[in-house]
């Protein structure tokens, strides 16, 4: 069996966690899902699995971990450049 490339943690999540570095242009086909990766994503980092609008909650482990500060497309890197915590942080 080939090594898993991403981890889908919870059915309600709109992100998945990359288990290896994944290059832009790769198509992930795993656990009955298919995702085209649009940016280079380092291992341990998150990719968007459902489109998010600005202000949408980012859901990991089935729980809200912050919100999108701009629209995020499926296959894009979800990190500090487009996500902010809801607490103890202020909008730029």
């Amino acid at each position: 069996m080939s090594k898993r490339q991403v981890l889908f943690l919870h059915p309600n999540d709109n992100i998945a966690v990359c288990l290896t570095d994944i290059a832009a242009g790769t198509t992930i086909s795993q656990d009955g899902k298919e995702i085209s990766i649009k940016e280079n994503i380092p291992r341990g980092h998150k990719i968007c699995t459902r489109p998010m609008a600005k202000g949408d909650g980012v859901i990991k482990y089935g729980e809200r971990m912050g919100h999108a500060t701009k629209p995020i497309e499926i296959g894009c890197h979800v990190h500090t450049h487009n996500v902010l915590g809801d607490r103890l942080s202020t909008e730029e």
Binding site: Y61, M65, G66, R87
Partner: protein
Amino acid sequence: MSLTGYKRSNGEWGFRNHVLIAPLHQMLSQSARAIEEAVPGVVAISHDWSGMREKDFDRIAKTLSGILVNPNVFHTVILAIGTDIESEILSLAQAHAKTPFTIVTLKDAGSLQALTELGSKAAATALNGAKALKREPAPWSAVVLGLECGGSDAYSGITANPALGVASDKFVADGATSILGETMEILGAEHLLALRAITPEVGQQIIDVVARYEKSINYEGIDIRGAQPSRGNIEGGLSTLEEKSLGAAKKAGNAQFTGVLDYADRPPVAGLYFMDTPGHDIEQLSGFAAAGVNIAVFTTGRGTPTGSAVIPTIKVATNTEMADALPDLIDLNAGTIADGTQTLEEVGALIYDLILRVANGDETRAEIGGHHEFNLSRLYGSTL
């Protein structure tokens, strides 16, 4: 696997049988280190408190008095100036346990050199006694487990932390005590922990302790971005404090919370607790030591050598790459869960077994490396 330990007169159990050299004033810290060097096998702490009744006195007194009588300590050699405030700390310690101690005061010794010599003699005698004491079969309730993480990465919440949660749940179910710390690292997950509280009051305490912390941060006007998550956390893939917290809280498994403890307070009965501690690794371990924690598991994504003066501290790596790169720091690799070669339950069972083996005397990497850190936690500056 059975459990063995050293039974103490107050009913607590130790998994180590330390002779601890403890200065009650910063001026005697160097003497404590000199005794540690002169008598191989004893362990010394040092600190910077000058015996003043400063704003943080209660916190300092709890931490110092608590570690003097940690159940892993067989005998304490106390170095003191000979003041009333030091006697207060001794009284506090004795309210918890009658751990045998020898006190050497500068007043009686006359000089630092004489104090070091007297302390070394007492330490050597105590060490002989410690070596003669045999382990006995211990009940599961003997375990007071500390749960810590440091240098978290995006794997922490997927691998090492939930696997530790599996082990913690098993101990708690068998009547042991387990303590989760780091208030900042449950911010964003406290509503989930509160749902698991034994009573609504305990649930409210969990919410309140985080609210107090959040208010103090907002009041100070600290911009937490850049510090939490830290640069290392962010490089590892964590984007927000809530994300880090959701992963960190998984160390406490799914058991019910019996109570909330103030920093360095001893748990009154067995069960799972949350302790209000700083995120700072050593301050947290020092608070645990004062609370009577006798074994700890420390999950890490980036790798850290930190240990405790009196608590054997097991390091669990969250990812295989770091575990392979830093074998002298890591006792167990939970990265196999992300590699897909082991399940969460399998690694949880391995952590459980490792806790038992270390409790029974196996040395941790931190112990082998001589890492026995201690420090005092202050909320205010040393204003006096």
